[in-house]
């Protein structure tokens, strides 16, 4: 079973930055996602959009990791590209 490890970063509160006391993490099994969302995740790993290229300011970024056939893979993508169930799996906590 493939599990996505998800970390939410940045935003106005700068969550997850080195000095921040806040972390926003979660995980979700790929099997819990709809076919469309699984396809969207696959596309993110194949062709990740650049967060800095977006016109959005103060948006979160998402770091998503999974164990693939060739080992661990990680992408960092803008919030707008992340399927809703994946974006919602994180919880903000104090370190």
């Amino acid at each position: 079973m493939t599990v996505l490890h998800v970390e939410r970063l940045g935003g106005l509160p700068a969550i997850g930055t080195p000095r921040s006391p806040l972390r926003s993490c979660g995980e979700i099994a790929l099997s819990e996602l709809s076919q469309a969302d699984r396809a969207a995740i696959e596309e993110l790993f194949r062709n990740p959009p650049r967060a800095a290229a977006s016109a959005v300011r103060d948006a979160f970024r998402y770091r998503i990791s999974r164990e693939g056939a060739s080992g661990a893979e990680t992408v960092e993508v803008p919030e707008s590209a992340v399927p809703s169930p994946v974006a919602a799996c994180v919880k903000d906590t104090f370190v």
């Binding site: 940045g10 935003g11 509160p13 000095r19 921040s20 300011r57 103060d58």
Partner: protein
């Protein structure tokens, strides 16, 4: 043939547009009148309505405030959501209407700016975005506000400086167009904090020594307060322990790839040091210098912090030619952060 008989000669319009004794909006009207002058002369013989509009501008007629609209996302993520009638249906939408209109007035009255694009763009906000959403953002077209999780963060519309911050991202988008990574990213975030904080001070009629210089104080929830956190950022002490998003305070701590919300601490502290050294209200001198540096030179997407610092030094000398202490305050403030 072009008729050149104008009621107010162009050189008089230009003199009034530069006259700092006149209110900003009046100077803006004269500047607009100069721009329209060439077209106005061509069309005058046709007796079009343009002549009347231009004359009105020359008299300093107030520019109508931009329209403010608010939408309710109803905890979804589709934008903009359902339209909310003014003045709002709940405390959140009422705040979004009132504070957005106030930010528009702030830019118009102090800097002669007509909305984020200086062309009357409608200011659109969506509230109640997503579920327990701990953020607010500008998406390139509009503002978006979350309700907070109620523990770490409260409703993001509760902080007027947050609303000013988001709208200023719009101003930057339509002026210097600063990129959102590395040094221009830090500057982009900083000017949003600078004008967000300045807006809050203006709303409260606070002088620099009375202002708290905290960003996001009103959105800090009980869970965060219980751990000693009081704000997102503190412009007077960016590294303070009471900040949920502490920042570096000196340029020597800047690193490529830093989140813009971190690196903005460096220029934030420079603005604070400038404003406090000058004294009075932050928007009177320091604000005017920062505004001109941001909006007066066209797009500068890759501007470095050093280049921005140099620009504010230069603008200070130009705007306050007879006041060497202001230029000196700007210079010392940047030097204090290593720039």
């Amino acid at each position: 043939m072009i008729c050149t008989c104008s009621i107010v000669p162009p050189k008089v319009l230009r003199r009034f547009a530069r006259d700092r004794r006149l209110p900003a909006k009046t100077r803006k009207a004269f500047a607009n009148a100069i721009e329209y002058e060439a077209q106005w002369r061509m069309l005058r013989s046709m007796h079009t309505e343009l002549s009347a509009a231009s004359s009105a501008l020359a008299r300093g007629a107030p520019v109508p405030e931009p329209k403010v609209t608010v939408f309710d996302s109803k905890h979804g993520t589709t934008l903009p959501g359902v339209p909310v009638a003014s003045p709002g249906s709940d405390a959140t939408s009422k705040r979004a209407f009132a504070e957005t209109a106030a930010v528009a007035s702030f830019y118009e009255q102090l800097f002669g700016r007509n909305s984020v694009d200086d062309a009357g763009k409608t200011l659109m906000s969506s509230v109640h975005f997503s579920v327990r959403y701990n953020n607010a953002f500008w998406n390139g077209t509009q503002m978006v506000y979350g309700d907070g999780d109620g523990n770490i963060f409260l409703d993001f519309t509760k902080a007027s400086d947050v609303i000013g911050h988001e709208l200023t991202h719009g101003v930057t988008q339509f002026s210097a167009q600063l990129e959102y990574s590395d040094e221009p990213g830090g500057l982009n975030e900083s000017v949003s904090d600078v004008f967000g904080s300045m807006f809050k001070q203006w709303r409260r009629e606070e002088t620099v020594d009375k202002a708290d210089w905290l960003i996001g104080k009103e959105i800090i929830g009980r869970g965060a307060k219980a751990r000693g956190f009081e704000c997102l950022r503190d412009m007077s002490n960016p590294a303070a322990r009471h900040c949920l998003a502490p920042q570096p305070t000196h340029y020597s701590d800047f690193r490529a790839g830093m989140d813009p919300h971190e690196s903005s601490g460096i220029p934030n502290l420079a603005f604070y040091n400038t404003a406090v050294a000058i004294g009075g209200y932050s928007w009177e001198k320091a604000g005017k210098i920062w505004y001109e540096a941001l909006t007066g030179f066209g797009p500068q997407p890759n501007m470095t912090m050093k280049a921005f610092a140099q620009r504010t030094r230069s603008v200070a000398k130009t705007l306050f030619r007879r006041d060497a202490s202001t230029a000196s305050a700007v210079d010392r403030a940047w030097k204090s952060v290593g720039l």
